[in-house]
Amino acid sequence: MELHQQILQYLLSGFSTGAIYALIGFGFAIIYNATTIINFAQGEFVMLGGMLSYFFLSVVHLPLPAAVVLAVLATTAVGIAFERLAIRPLKNATPLSLVIITIGGSILIRGLTMLIWGKDTHALPSFSGSEPIDIGGATILPQNLWIFGITIVIIVVNKLFFNYSITGKAMRACATNRRAASLVGIDVRRMVLFSFVISSAMGSMAGIIIAPLTMTAYDVGIMLGLKGFCAAIIGGLSSGFGTVLGGLLLGVLESLGAGLISSGYKDAIAFVILLLILFIRPQGLFKKADSERV
């Protein structure tokens, strides 16, 4: 394969994982905007999506669409339970205790998954065949197309929801100013719950569509979650276009780094980028710095 074909190949696979990172990043951004909490358990929603659809498909023997729907619903239920049991009861919590509690939640979910389904890695079948498709000398799998398609649909629906529905607008109002939102009669606590619903559903979907390519296990949530966070940070923790670009950028850099430099250090690339962004431009790559009032 010639170099330009190789690079095209890296770009395609980079876009595909990047789309996943963007979806996970959205989940971080949505919860952050509603609560100013960084939900360390976000990656576990992604893991649950993959593991639960494997469970419904291969253990319960349901057809794929039913398994996917059930997996998303079950993950969302976990998201709701987490918000109700661990986040809502906290009043005036410091950022430190919020960090600790969401970490606690994440290792609890991970540990329980391991106890129930073991430490094995599981494969999920592709949604429609696994014949590679040739694009200008590079190949792409049908599953990659599913990833692109579903990601685009989710992003569009997300955009419509936040821009046009009453609930979506109310959530944006909460993100801008919680107190003002509650003064005009928006039920802030319900919006926080919604943010957990949406981001756990989105996260689980991301986990489901990537599982046929990368396999799934009880511990995939840590890495996927952190990389989603990285995408969200590049995008300035907005649930808009910045996070999509952040995800794609991260995916492509990772795939180029793995292909051209070293595959062993592939995972380190995301974290080096994360640290650099946090050090140099903590407001994200695509946002102007606000002159903050103390």
Binding site: D290, S291, R293, V294
Partner: protein, 250 residues
Amino acid sequence: MLRLEGITQVFGGIRALEDVSFTVNGGSITGVIGPNGAGKTTLFNVISGLYTLTSGNVYLDDRTITGFPPEKLAPLGVVRTFQNIELFGQMTVLENVMVGLHTKSTSGIIACAFKLPGHLREERIIRERARHWLDFTGIGELAGTVAGSLPFGKGRLLEIARALALEPRIILMDEPAAGLNSRETADLAGLIGRIREAGITVVLVEHDMELVMDICDDILVLNLGRKLAEGTPREIQENPAVIAAYLGEG
């Protein structure tokens, strides 16, 4: 002693302060007044180094302290208190004041960890001085109480004691009488008088006009981020522009 020159502070298009110049005389009590949103607290935040100011200069004597962060101002003798008192809530009252003596001691991590003799001597002096300032502000009997559990009025006194422990040349007080009852306010007026007698220059932002007119030598009036007037309490009371601003006709 403290001189402001053309202070301008812009937040994302909003001009919180515009071209404010003013001089505080050494040994005086100066009041900064003005309607809500006039920029009084912003002015304090600029002087005490919490905001990076957009343009202008701040001088202490003839030395510029423009843009100095608070930790650099403290050793020069510039200290402040906060409108919503900022205590170290989990520490005792005595420990709070001992932090005020941070700049009066030099022991580093190693001296502290190994309890070197110099550090022990320092620690004893810090404790004595801290008690002195607690007595000065009249809360000596509360030394062992956890600061977070103090009633508001006592908390305010603790904040002042902590600031005084720094042995400052100038103390900026942001609404020291807010939330105090009339007896506490009278006590505060007495305390501020004693602070001046100790040779410390006082600048205060205050809404309690009676207090300001009573104790201040000079007054600076701000309105909508600009200097509206300056002068003695009597001059200010008779200034038509000030009266207009306060009656809402400005």
